[in-house]
């Protein structure tokens, strides 16, 4: 279409007495949603086609002979729509009554209870009492394989899952089997969903408790979970997610819509790789002293002693080992401290890589990347080089015998021996868990993982994405940027260190031109591309080369 400077065509209509202006081609349901009016819907999902088969989005359109399914009725200029007229409400009430004829109402033991659309809609619009006295049909449950469990009794036959597998996953394994009240969702006999790497999304899009996650089954009630906007740490795609937490533990991950990154979806690998965040046995207080002389202490003491030691060794050769599980702020502060302390000879990180990528055919932007860490590209931009093998081990040649300053953030050095860092003049280990290879560390500092702090990651598209704090840190663990920023500022003597995450990000933007022009507030929860995202990607690609 030639761009002749005109605005996109719009239509003006009235929904429930409100004037609404929407782009041409918008459905009534979307137009109403834009005006803050939620029309009930099951089969319609913004990421899928709309078959208009569930009949719960019926609304009254002036002039139309009967109620219209709002999910497929296109808004017209001058249309007058009532979503809450007596006729529409009466009709929808009838539809919900039919849905309840065979729905088991086992809400007390149903995982979806609390976020179930049948519950919500019937509560809002349905009958107070059911009139069905006949026994309900019973199917039992069906293990679809993978992480998906199917309760046929609860199913409302919206076929979102069928359409997701066909249209988005490109793997049409699900179908409606049988007809009428005997209809259930199933695969081809014993085929199941095993091996379908995006199948977990069918649990998210199921409006009722028919498809539930085995992993989450009976683990927590929906109303007990806190939802925190975050970024998936499973790979460098950085899918926008919500961390659902309870009792200061991550209970599950749910995708959060971002059309630039992951649409409405996320992969099963990312969805299932969150247990490391909950790993117990955390470092809770700073410790100082090598080997048997190690003593727990407090931050004031440890920072004072560390600062003095860094002053003594000023100008020594510094080797920095970072981790792409840590946000940009922490890595930048690590780099800043290293530069203030002496001559930085190497900045490296180690990170596992998958054999191949796993794209989502129906949403090509979403790819489960090879790099199985969220901030590989951020680490690259901040000057860190990949080291070691595809399982995140090895490399570090000559580091074990390094005699200068050794700064380690986040890498647990699992493959290194207890002799690691024995000859270093100063060995500082910042991490979440103690490690045998940290036995020679002069200072062991407990830092928070990404879920316990705010910060940013750079994903494989060169997009800077913010995440928020979901969990309380254990003990006196602090964000790495706070600890390292304080030391770096004290060493360099250039003013007060940042005390909040936005300050840490501003310091990072000031020090690293690749991040120029970005503002922490503007990033919001949707993130923003780097000014030169192409260059960033190229740099990351060069950095990835073996």
């Amino acid at each position: 279409m030639p761009d002749n400077g005109r605005k996109p065509e719009t239509v003006a209509l009235t929904i429930d007495g409100r004037e609404v202006v929407v782009p041409k081609g918008t459905s009534l349901l979307q137009a109403a949603a834009g005006a803050g009016i939620e029309v009930p819907h099951y089969c319609y999902h913004p990421g899928l086609s709309a078959p208009a088969q569930c009949r719960v989005c019926l609304v009254e359109v002036e002039g139309a002979p009967k109620l219209q399914p709002s999910c497929v009725t296109v808004a017209q200029d001058g249309q007058v729509v009532r979503t809450d007229s007596d006729e529409a409400l009466e009709m929808r009430k009838g539809v919900f009554e039919f849905y309840l004829v065979n729905h088991p109402l086992d809400c007390p033991i149903c995982d979806m209870s609390g976020e179930c659309k049948l519950q919500d809609y019937v509560f809002a619009e349905g009958r107070e009492h059911g009139r069905a006295h006949e026994p309900k049909r019973v199917f039992g449950r069906d293990d679809f394989g993978g992480d998906v469990l199917y309760y046929g009794d609860r199913c409302v036959m919206c076929t979102r899952c069928v359409r997701f597998m066909e249209e988005v996953a490109g793997d049409p394994r699900l179908t409606v089997v049988e007809r009428g009240s005997r209809a259930v969702i199933d695969t081809f006999f014993d085929q199941g969903l095993e091996g379908a790497s995006f199948a977990g999304n069918v649990v998210d899009i199921c409006p009722v408790g028919a498809l539930v996650s085995k992993e989450f089954l009976h683990k927590a009630r929906a109303w007990d979970l806190d939802h925190t906007p975050s970024v998936c740490a499973g790979c460098s795609q950085g899918c926008n997610v919500e961390l659902h937490t309870r009792d200061n533990l991550v209970q599950r991950l749910k995708p959060r819509e971002n059309q630039e990154v992951n649409g409405h979806w996320m992969c099963d690998y990312g969805r299932e790789s969150y247990e490391w965040i909950n790993r117990p046995g955390r470092l809770e207080s700073p410790q100082a002293g090598r080997g048997s002389r190690r003593k727990p202490t407090d931050w004031r003491d440890v920072l004072g002693r560390l600062h003095a030691r860094l002053q003594e060794l000023r100008g020594a050769e510094v080797i920095v080992i970072g981790s792409p599980l840590w946000p940009n702020e922490g890595l930048a502060a690590l780099d800043a401290l290293a530069q203030a302390a002496g001559q930085v000879s190497r900045r490296v990180f180690r990170s596992p890589r998958a054999q191949d990528e796993d794209p989502l055919p129906g949403f090509p932007l979403l790819i489960r990347r090879r790099d199985l860490a969220p901030n590989v590209d951020g680490a690259g931009l901040l000057g860190f080089d990949r080291d070691g093998s595809d399982v995140g081990e090895g490399g570090l040649d000559g580091v074990a015998a390094h005699d200068g300053i050794l700064l380690v953030l986040g890498d647990e050095l699992r493959d290194q021996s207890e002799e690691f860092g024995a000859s270093a003049a100063l060995f500082v280990y910042l991490g979440t868990h103690d490690s045998p290879a940290a036995a020679n560390a002069d200072f062991v500092l407990p830092v928070t993982n990404f879920a316990e702090q705010e910060g940013t990651f750079v994903n494989a598209q060169g997009r800077v994405q913010r995440f928020q704090q979901a969990l309380r840190p254990p003990g006196t663990a602090r964000p790495a940027w706070l600890v390292l920023g304080a030391l770096a500022a004290a060493l360099a003597g250039n003013g007060p260190p940042p005390s909040r995450a936005d300050g840490a990000f501003a310091a990072l933007v000031a020090a690293h031109p690749a991040f120029a022009g970005l503002d922490y507030d503007v990033l919001g929860v949707a993130g923003a591309p780097l000014a030169d995202a192409g260059a960033a990607t190229a740099a990351a690609a060069g950095q990835r080369a073996p």
Binding site: E166, P172, R173, L174, T175, V176, V177, E178, R179, D186, T187, F188, F189, Q191
Partner: protein, 221 residues
Amino acid sequence: MSEAPFRNPGWAGNTGEFDLAEAEVRGDSYVGERPLDGGHPGASPSLPYMLVKKDPSAPLFEGPYQERLDKILDRYPTSRAALLPVLNMAQELRGHVSPGTMDEVASLLDLGRAYVRGVATFYTMYNKRPVGRFLVQVCTNISCNLCGADEVLAAFLDHTGTELGETSADGNFTVVEAECLAACGFPTCVQINSRYFEDVGADDVTAIIERLKAETGDARL
């Protein structure tokens, strides 16, 4: 004065149409083109009785069936549209549509296996399990039920010695309930393979089985 129960006068019973040879109905040339067992691609279970023994492991779409398949595929714009007649043909050959058959049809038409299963299970006229030589479908919907369909069904089960939905030990009969057979004016309606028996009462069942015996010349029934 006791009156005989009302019976619809004209429509039930042997109207003679099945005494005609195929050639008399459709013409010689047509018969000459018909496939091996007389089935027609558009209405494959069209023979009144399953005169040809079904072989559940018969190869699909070989020889004349390949030709029929090609004709079917020519007729539709997409392979998806051809699914129903192709499943018909598979059932005509094998007597029922097994999971293996669905899989074969799916790969032949380049459709999802699950989708083919969904279609095959949606339609009750595809038998998902092997059925007997005579598939007896007794309508138990409203009109027929008011006129004694339950007794007719019980009589069929009794005479064939089988359970509802099961196949009799000799492999001759499968008796199932059917929803409306669109013959509400002539209850109870019973469909045996593709022929309708209308106005059937419980006491007619013996005669119907006798008739099947006579027409097929099979004394074992």
